[in-house]
């Protein structure tokens, strides 16, 4: 509803207005844009691009750096840097790191890039302490005639003010079927699907309308300007101390009026699209499964579901302040439609890069095991 009101207002403004071109002050310079999110427990590459000044002549074809001028150190130890896609990527240079020491809590990761005709950039971050998962409990409940699964995540200690976390959740559905040409000519088949979902809240339309952002902010893990697609990667819900009850965070796995409804209102469909988490390995496929080619197989005439199980897995991230601010700013920037018309203040792009733009922010992650969910009745 609100989206349509926005559009109507903007159309009304446009219909009655008169254009007045004016000169812009040259207030920005070309800059290197860096995106590097070192994570304890995962290896992440660096993405570097060129940010051209909006108030000047754009020169998007220039290359802002040489690979030999990129330096990454962990507690003073230098890593080897290699560019993965120098040819095919246009203004998005992906760099891999080798020889990087283990990222431990407290490790300082520093990145510097010597600019090629643009200012040099530098930034650093400290890897935060890994969160400790004390327990995860799955509780089946009925809320307003809807069956929901409450997930209670307990950490080892109460969350303090100023601490930031992220949470990602996955469900693994395993279906074992018996199928074939007949009951006497069949075999078992196991299908495993892993998908991510947004940790939901039991909320009505009225709650969602209240736009309590800390409750609903969810962004793609590596959601930056150098990621093609705003919500690439599985969604991470950002958490501050306010979302915790001491050491406990509670969310719902399949709530009816949950965050997905909220996303739908704003067309933020990333959280609704099940995707394979980038830092999670697919279960090994059984031999022959998923092979392509050959003649199309006839559909089985005999089909019986033997079991259908859900398992849940949670990843808890401890975020540095800069990651939290960056991720929240990225999320908020998707609401900048009205600010483009000067009706509201814009949401700014967070940067912690001196001399340039972008983000170098550390985080650490801990993952639970797969936890069996309530078993569904066989049909």
């Amino acid at each position: 509803m609100k989206k349509y009101v926005h559009i109507l207002l903007l159309l009304a403004l446009a219909a009655v207005s008169c254009e007045i071109p004016f000169k812009l002050d040259d207030v920005s310079e070309p800059a290197i844009y860096v995106q590097y999110l070192p994570c304890s427990g995962a290896q992440n590459g660096i993405k570097i691009g060129y940010a051209s000044p909006a108030f000047g002549k754009a020169d998007m074809s220039r290359r802002p750096f040489n690979v030999s001028d990129v330096t990454v150190t962990v507690d003073g130890v230098k890593a080897a840097v290699e560019e993965l896609n120098s040819e095919e990527a246009w203004n998005m240079h992906t760099l891999s790191l080798t020889g990087l020491p283990e990222l431990k809590p407290g490790s300082e990761v520093a990145l510097s890039v010597k600019g090629n005709g643009v200012p040099d950039v530098h930034s650093s971050t400290v890897i935060p302490r890994k969160p400790v998962l004390k327990s995860i409990e799955l509780i089946e409940e009925t809320v307003d005639t809807n069956s929901v699964l409450r997930v209670v995540v307990k950490l080892d200690k109460p969350v303090e003010e100023g601490e930031y976390y992220g949470i990602k959740a996955y469900v693994r559905s395993t279906t074992v079927t018996l199928q074939g040409k007949s009951m006497f000519d069949c075999q078992t088949d196991t299908t495993v699907i892993v998908s991510s979902f947004t940790p939901g809240k039991i909320a009505s339309y009225a709650d969602l309308n209240s736009l309590d952002l800390d409750n609903y902010t969810s962004v793609g893990y590596q959601n930056g300007f150098l990621d093609t697609g705003l919500f690439s990667g599985s969604a991470m819900t950002l958490l501050s101390q306010r979302q915790f009850d001491g050491d406990t965070y509670t969310f719902y796995a399949n709530s009816f009026d949950s965050f997905d409804a909220f996303e739908g209102m704003f067309d933020l469909n990333g959280g609704e699209i099940p995707q394979t988490p980038p830092d999670f390995e697919w279960p090994e496929e059984e031999e022959g499964e998923g092979e392509e080619g050959g003649e199309e197989e006839e559909p089985p005439t005999f089909y019986m579901v033997l079991s259908f199980d859900h398992e849940y897995r949670v990843e808890i991230y401890r975020l540095t302040d800069e990651f939290y601010n960056y991720a929240k700013a990225q999320y908020l920037s998707t609401f900048n439609m009205l600010s483009n018309f000067g009706v509201t203040p814009p949401n700014f792009t967070y940067s912690n890069i001196s001399g340039g733009l972008g983000i170098v922010a550390g985080l650490s992650v801990v993952s639970s095991d797969w936890i069996p969910g309530p078993r569904e009745e066989e049909e």
Binding site: V5, L13, F22
Partner: protein, 708 residues
């Protein structure tokens, strides 16, 4: 009819009317001259800096945009004040945020002072007796807001005779009446204002619906109403009681009804308004000790929402469904003030008193849905979000105007304010001081220092006034705002001239800026998380030159100012404020060529408002994907603003104190479309340019009034 012929006829009417009223106005001129002199004397004699006193007559005359005089739009022309968005009743004083002005109507603080999204102010000029406008040097008796005080007093009704005034403008009609209830002791003064656009649009839509030939009716209307009432009773020369009421309401709605498949109704609407009531008792214990006790209750609120209803059936299938959504904002105050005024000797003028207000803030959103389908269980869902906040705000103050010598006067004061809500309590000592040095009989130097605190925050996601904007108390996440201001200047009144040169330096702490999802509905629960706190700084120089004579008044105002903000959470260094207008010039003139005729003009100029445009562009895949980076707040300036308004008041006496009044006002005479907002655009060479959009063209208006 040709334009030249219309102008000739108009000139003839003006000349005839002016000639007829010549004698009647001789007496009024004398009074006017005396009034001007008195105001000038008062200005020089007052110790405070940054004070402007305007009386009701002055406020009622002049340019009346849409035919209704607007007090706030007159204040916008003063130096040190930025007007904000065009046509709106914004008041950004000395770098303030617009929500930090204390509006007092007969001593009652008001939260919502505008109609129709800020297009008009709520103050009906017909009933205003006088107005004190402080930009700095706030006396200790005022508190609760950071940037300015607009203290409006309504007129007492005439104790002996009945008077009144009725007028009709472009969009509203006004009615004012006053007179004795008990001759000599009790009087009333009532002012009523209502827009009348819906009187046209409602029958027009009814007619259009009856002729459209389909089963769909469209309805919609807007109206605003306000009522001011005052009853004054004199017990004696020493004791007087006055009861005041202000009620203002705006209503905007639109609806669609379709009867093709049963009933389908969609109604979207909003109502918002303010109720303020007070009873004040003035009692003079002696000529040296006076007191005023005031009790008040005020409530501002809005309800924005929609309702959707379907009731349809075809064969055995039927569906009945309702859905509604409401956003309700309320802020209410109940308070008392007890002010004392004591002249212990010739060297001291002591004012002291207390104030206590109980605040109630509530914003709620409710959603309700029902669905009835035969054969299925009825479905109902309803929920209301939002919790009330209550707060208590007491304050004590003491101020002493000390006449140190004939030439030196010091106004020293202290206000102790406290605010308690939930588990949080804040209290702040707010020192105030103003010094005046009268170095000649026509010139003086003044210097002041003030500290102000503000405990209520306006929760708004947009630059424009919306009914969904709400007020909230300070919380642990959004503490009280504070300001410190030093102001000083030279003030001269040589002959018919008044020349002021004043400067100020002001800092503001704990200011809030919205940093959430852009929406019409600001957040309710944990609203602080969508706001970032920071600080502000403003400084500048104001010049005011005025010449006043019975025939001609002319004022030139110039402001050179800087206004900065710093919000570390999203930008590490200070940046200019949205309304950082470096230069502001206002030329205001009144010419009285003939008795009964006043011709007005004002020319407004200011440096363009600041806007935020992207600083960088990131592109990936050769224009397949580009994104804008907003790195620097308010990094660009809109084109400079300028506008000329002209108008005329014509009073045609009808005898026995009656007259017919005309006001012709032309807003933006030379039709200069000033930039209201801007975006990035490309020129033909592919380079980025700013593209601003102007919205407000020339607006001529005529209002006709009858005074009795």
């Amino acid at each position: 009819m040709k334009l030249s012929r219309i102008l000739l006829m108009l000139a003839a009417v003006l000349a005839t009317a002016a000639n007829a009223s010549a004698q009647e106005y001789e007496r009024r001129d004398t009074l006017e001259t005396a009034r001007v002199t008195a105001v000038k004397e008062k200005m020089r004699n007052t110790t405070q800096t940054g004070l402007m006193r305007l009386d009701g007559d002055k406020l009622r005359s002049g340019i009346a945009v849409f035919g209704t005089p607007d007090i706030i739009k007159q204040l916008q022309m003063l130096p040190g004040v930025a007007a904000g968005n065009e046509l709106m009743s914004g008041l950004y004083v000395h770098g303030g945020d617009g929500n930090d002005n204390l509006f007092l109507l007969d001593g009652v603080p008001l939260y919502n002072i505008t109609h129709f999204g800020g297009l008009f102010s709520s103050f009906n000029a017909d009933v205003v007796d006088n107005l004190d406008f402080y930009k700095s040097g706030f006396p200790a008796r005022y508190g609760g807001r950071l940037s300015s005080v607009v203290d409006v007093e309504t007129s007492e009704g005439d104790m002996n005779e009945y008077h009144g005034h009725a007028s009709l403008g472009l969009i509203d009609g006004r009615l004012q009446a006053e007179g004795p209830i008990i001759k000599g002791t009790t009087s009333f003064n009532v002012g009523l204002r209502r827009s009348w656009l819906d009187v046209i649009t409602t029958p027009a839509l009814w007619y259009a619906n009856s002729k459209n030939g389909v089963n769909t009716n469209v309805n919609g209307a807007y109206n605003m109403t306000d009522l001011n009432g005052r009853i004054t009773h004199k017990f004696s020369d020493r004791s007087k009681i006055a009861a005041n009421v202000y009620w203002g309401r705006d209503k905007l709605f639109a609806g669609i009804k379709n009867t093709d498949l049963g009933a389908l109704n969609l109604d979207v609407g909003s109502t918002w308004g303010t109720l303020a009531t007070s009873v004040g008792w003035n009692y003079d214990f002696s000529k040296k000790l006076r007191s005023k006790l005031l009790g008040y209750y005020s409530r501002s609120g809005s309800d924005v929402g929609y309702g959707f209803e379907v009731d349809t059936s075809e064969g055995d299938v039927s569906l009945r469904m309702t859905m509604s959504d409401h956003n309700v904002c309320t802020v209410g105050d109940a308070g008392i003030k007890y002010d004392w005024d004591w002249l212990p000797n010739d060297y001291h003028h002591v004012r002291f008193g207390l104030a206590a207000a109980y605040h109630h803030y509530q914003v709620s959103r409710s959603y309700e849905q029902t669905r009835i389908i035969p054969g299925m269980d009825p479905y109902e869902d309803a929920k209301t979000t939002g919790e009330p906040y209550n707060a208590f705000e007491p304050a004590l103050y003491l101020e002493d105007e000390i006449f140190i010598t004939y030439n030196f006067t010091l106004n020293a004061g202290l206000r102790m304010s406290m605010f308690t809500t939930g588990k949080h309590t804040w209290w702040h000592p707010e020192p105030r001081a103003a010094l005046k040095w009268l170095f000649t009989h026509w010139g003086c130097f003044k210097l002041s220092y003030t500290r102000m605190s503000q405990y209520s925050h306006l929760v708004s996601a947009m630059y424009i006034e919306l009914p969904t904007n709400s007020w909230m108390p300070s919380t642990s996440g959004a503490g009280p705002m504070m300001s410190d201001q030093i102001a000083g200047g030279l003030y001269f009144t040589p002959g018919p001239f008044k020349i002021n040169l004043e400067g100020w330096y002001k800092t503001m702490d704990n200011m809030l800026t919205y940093n959430g999802a852009n929406a019409f509905y600001p957040p309710i629960t944990n609203w602080e998380t969508s706001f970032t706190s920071g600080s502000g700084k403003s400084y500048g120089l104001e010049f005011e030159g005025t010449y006043e004579s019975p025939k001609f008044d002319f004022s030139a105002f110039y402001t050179l100012s800087w206004s900065w903000r710093q919000f570390d959470a999203y930008y590490p260094v200070p940046f200019p404020d949205h309304y950082d207008n470096r230069h502001k010039v206002n030329l205001v003139g009144t010419w009285r060529p003939m008795k009964g005729l006043s011709v007005f003009f004002n020319w407004n100029y200011h440096s363009g408002n600041r806007i935020t445009l992207p600083t960088h562009v990131i592109a990936i895949g050769e224009h397949a994907y580009t994104d804008m980076l907003f790195q620097a707040p308010y990094n660009s300036k809109l084109p400079d603003y300028h506008r000329l308004d002209v108008g005329a008041d014509l009073v045609t006496p009808l005898g026995k104190g009656r007259s017919l009044d005309f006001n012709i006002s032309i807003y933006n005479v030379y039709n200069h479309l000033n930039a209201s907002f801007a975006m990035l655009d490309h020129d033909e060479n592919g380079e980025y340019i700013g593209m601003a959009y102007g919205l407000v063209p020339i607006i001529p208006t005529l209002s006709v009034g009858y005074r009795f």
